[in-house]
Symmetry: none
Subunit: 418 residues, 2 copies
């Protein structure tokens, strides 16, 4: 089955000059992907007649569905509406229903409207008027030669409402959407190329209709399986079968599926086991605590943390021995062990995690260069440690330490370290 | 003067399918805007030979400078490199220097490399090899017919380093850039429309060749002045004159200029005064500590922090009175006062900051709905507090609390609260 091909066009000088980040196109992509529409191109153009008309023409060549955001304000530099009229060869005329909607929008908010606002109810005669209940610029739907166009305002919540209320419900009525199924495997603790190397035989044997994508981000790699076919249940089963096959090879790196994050995965592990967590962060400086507490409901298992940025507080608050610090230094296996045990005791937690390292850019030595980090996980009767050799970049070192610390807890928890 | 026209091409199915948000194109736009290069188009294409080649050809028609991100990973779906070779009509060959760089990159990290990684040092023979010090995919620079091309990895920090170290310094050597001068005034603690209202007379009197842009972000508003002209020194003087004029109206909201952040501004205040800081974070969960410790050298003034996520640790570690918690609750002015004083004492710091609030989505009551946050700043002989009424969104509440806490320290420090 041939997929419906879509192009997203974002219009506005402010997008090209970097004054506003185009989050609309990203959101639209996600929504279209979920219903099996294939986005083949995203285009951003400025408030310029020639560029906009050229973008329309190129999109019509490439795509079956063209979604346009922006350029619908009441001011003169907003060109989308007159140019759509020109492109489709019709006039901008008054749509009484649209004028009425704009007028009552202003009335509801007790605000005065200008002549410019009234003109927002004038639309290309060849479009279908789509009411915008949360703003003043209407949506416009066009059909020509079996292709479908929708023009929406650039204000994100207005665009989203028009997508949800009109575009997404209309699509299945006018085009044939495929049966599609996605599943994402989330991994941590292994780089993209090592992972690719581990699973290359499995990957090469995937059936034609199941596609694999590697989606790396800091300290994580996501594997996305996408299956196309006739029957959703069959696709789910086929994808699950493939996952069952690959899991024994990679399971020690897998922390979850789909929208799960390392933070939520660890939260679920702790919650389900009725266990609690405390953190002692030196080089990660509060970042791990921040990750843990971004999860709603984390107070069920997170007891608290200490950032003992100076050594004296590693002693006075966490009970690290001064001799340990003198003999081995703050960035050492011995110190992170005592920190993890100490914070576990301080917060009466089941697990204590700790980090200590040289985040940089200063503080490196020959023996412990910038990027040297020790982390530990302490639990009842054990302390696991890891040494990391990270980068020259302070921010990256903090972030990668964060992922590594959480992943160490996961590994300790699932006993994969034994 | 004719501006240099640029196109940004982002490559990757993951961008079209909405799995990754393209923040690169936005960042590149901003950087190009600063040096007076006019971005005329942004294009996103998938990992597809025909589409990528078509995007190259269209960009070469439209732009003088083409910046490409993505599609440079070691796996099979990454096509940028072979297609650039095809487009420019040359072969992919071994660049010994590039192979050496990849090899030593892995050696430095003590990690093994695969055959796929070695191939990352093979590049189109017609490109100039641009070393990537922070990753394994090199940059590639091409010149043809007076137009310039740069291909960079999609990993944001790698792309940024290549832009800063190579592209931005190279541009003035190969193309004519306008004389342009920017200065950014950084404010916190006031919303965009209030700020606009405060300075509207000044704004209306700005000379034609000095442009003002409002750049709002979470809890901050940046005011960017951009001057165009003939002579850089004259532009600097003119902009500084304008800033001198507006400062008396807004100075209590201004924490710095240009690349200064609230974190670095506070760091400088503390360092210059020889003062130290400690934090007690409840609802902000470590986020403020994270912000403070992202600043290189923050150990000079940051003593440490405690995240007492459960009330018992507010008592046992910070010495908050159990009666205070019982009478007023954890989210109260009285509690944050005692937390700020307690953490100041615990870490022997000059200033103690604290937060306690209902981050959400659960935990709200009629009296203290989600988004209710108390913050405090304690110093020698004083405690300042603020109540914030934030949003329904947990992540936003954490981030806005972070900005508000740091800004409260700035306000207390500069005595503007008196």
């Amino acid at each position: 089955m041939k997929l419906v091909r879509a192009e997203i066009i974002a219009i506005g000088d402010e997008l090209l000059y970097g004054q506003i980040m185009d989050t609309n196109s990203h959101w639209i992509s996600q929504e279209l992907d979920l219903v099996g529409v294939k986005v083949v191109r995203k285009t951003t153009v400025g408030d310029n007649r020639t560029d906009i008309l050229a973008a329309f023409a190129a999109a019509e060549e490439r795509a079956d569905l063209i979604l346009i955001t922006g350029g619908l304000g009441p001011t003169q530099d907003d060109l989308t509406k007159p140019l759509l009229a020109e492109y489709f060869g019709c006039e901008v005329v008054e749509f009484p229903e649209a004028v009425e909607a704009v007028t009552s929008f202003f009335k509801r908010r007790g605000r005065e409207m200008t002549q410019l606002n009234i003109l927002q109810g004038h639309l290309p005669s060849c479009c279908t008027y789509v009411p915008n209940e949360v703003g003043t610029a209407p949506g416009m739907w066009f059909e020509r030669g079996g292709k479908y166009w929708m023009s929406m305002p650039g204000v994100p919540h207005e665009m989203k409402k028009l997508m949800k209320d009109f575009v997404l419900p209309t699509l299945p009525k006018v085009v044939a959407l495929p049966v599609i199924y996605h599943k994402v495997i989330k991994t941590a603790g292994i780089g993209e190329s090592w992972l690719a190397d581990l699973i290359k035989d499995w990957e090469n044997n995937l059936p034609e209709h199941i596609r694999l994508a590697y989606l790396p981000s800091l300290g994580h790699v996501k594997l996305r399986l996408t299956a196309f076919g006739e029957n959703l249940k069959t696709l789910e089963d086929e994808v699950d079968e493939q996952i069952e096959e690959v899991m024994p090879i990679i399971d020690k790196y897998v922390y979850g599926f789909n929208s799960e994050t390392l933070e939520t995965a660890i939260g679920n592990l702790l919650k389900n086991a009725g266990k609690t967590l405390a953190l002692a962060e030196s080089c990660s400086g509060g970042y791990v605590s921040h990750l843990v507490t971004t999860v709603p409901g984390s107070s069920a298992y997170f007891q608290g943390s200490v950032v003992p940025y100076h050594n004296q507080f590693k002693e006075s608050i966490l009970g690290v021995q001064s001799q340990t610090l003198e003999t081995f230094g703050a960035v050492s296996e011995e110190t992170v062990k005592e920190m993890a045990n100490g914070v576990r005791k301080l917060f009466k937690a089941d697990f204590g995690l700790s980090s200590s390292g040289v985040a940089g850019p200063d503080g490196g030595t020959e023996e412990k260069p910038v990027g040297t980090v020790w982390i530990a996980c302490a639990g009842e009767g054990f302390v696991e440690t890891r040494k990391l050799q990270l980068t020259q970049d302070r921010m990256l070192n903090i972030q990668q330490t964060g992922v590594a610390v959480l992943n160490l807890l996961r590994v300790c928890f699932s006993g994969n370290n034994k």
